[in-house]
Subunit: 236 residues, 2 copies
Amino acid sequence: MTSQNQKTVAVVGGSGAEGGGLALRFAKAVMRVLIGSRSADKAQAAARRIAELTGSENVAGRANADAVKGAEIVVLTVPLAAQTETLKGIRGSFAPGAILVDATVPLEIAIGGRLSRIVALWDGSAAQQAARLAPSGVPVVSTFHALSAEALAALDSAVDCDALLCGENADAKAAVTQLAEAIPGVRAVDAGPLENARYLESAAALLIALNLRHKVHHSGMRITGITGLKSYGPRQ
Amino acid sequence: MTSQNQKTVAVVGGSGAEGGGLALRFAKAVMRVLIGSRSADKAQAAARRIAELTGSENVAGRANADAVKGAEIVVLTVPLAAQTETLKGIRGSFAPGAILVDATVPLEIAIGGRLSRIVALWDGSAAQQAARLAPSGVPVVSTFHALSAEALAALDSAVDCDALLCGENADAKAAVTQLAEAIPGVRAVDAGPLENARYLESAAALLIALNLRHKVHHSGMRITGITGLKSYGPRQ
């Protein structure tokens, strides 16, 4: 088994705020990071910025499908309106054994609505929609929704938030637990099967509503009262 | 304005676990508490138990509608399957100026499903359903879903959980903020308009799912990153 810091992570939508923040943290944690964007130029510009900020020499930018090709973990961080098209564009590019992490929040803004509201999706959640569109055999894990872009960008500060994650495949959840907990401050919490993704997506929208109401940019969420948390990997 | 500990709170469904736990905490905080139940006998038995545990002489049990008559704040803690019928039974009994607090979680168990799943309601949330059925002019506040019955029952321990609350009426939210924060450990967090109740109900179901998965009985939730929280009343 390769150690955590040798993993290659592709962040599809990595030139956006949420994806860029995650990519920054992964690069800081000495992982190999591939920034994916619709435009290879934009991806490369984002990669250069992250390399400067972190001093990492293992960050590169590529068009989305090319970024996916080289990755063991693919993190999807595009807006809901782009999720289906993006998945159709990358589904032929997954390496054998790769994992798809979906961080999509089904915000109503995708249909011209409000940032603080979500829409109900036919599949039950954005993550289940991602699982339907993902190549057969690629396990899907839903997580990272609650980690605010602003908190991720503040590289010198720990992120005061749990990463609740759900999915069907225990090995994939173990790998993503390690990925999440490579971000200082983040604790991964297993939230069960993939169908629970609707709870995680809903909780993320709640945090957005709280940000707007309380005029902050990085509210987060901690689960209390969970003793004996099942740990999938070494903790720091 | 009467001070917090002179308020009379009716807990409809107060002979159940969640309602009983809330009533216990309110009695401990030296409020006047009316336990409501379908059966006056059951309500009186629950009231006697709470009086013994807290030493309070201001706890009484009554049939639901009679409990509501005497209260400034009415907290509804019945299962989803009983919510509509209960509201129809008490709607004629609200005192002028009274507030309705809805703590209903629309669990799928109401239709023979799972404890860890919720159903979608026509009104958008159980609290909005309560608002539709409440008497005109009675403000509705949605809260308390996340406070576990077990944590409430452990009278010597603080409850490690935020009480997110939402509603349309600022004065009602202020009163319920005081009510919530009379429980040691609980912080009230304004989560916006009543339509956001679906987030709070969903978060409560997530905590139930986490309880089942992690084999605990009182997971809770804290919001981080909210500075300058708007306080509606004195804090202890």
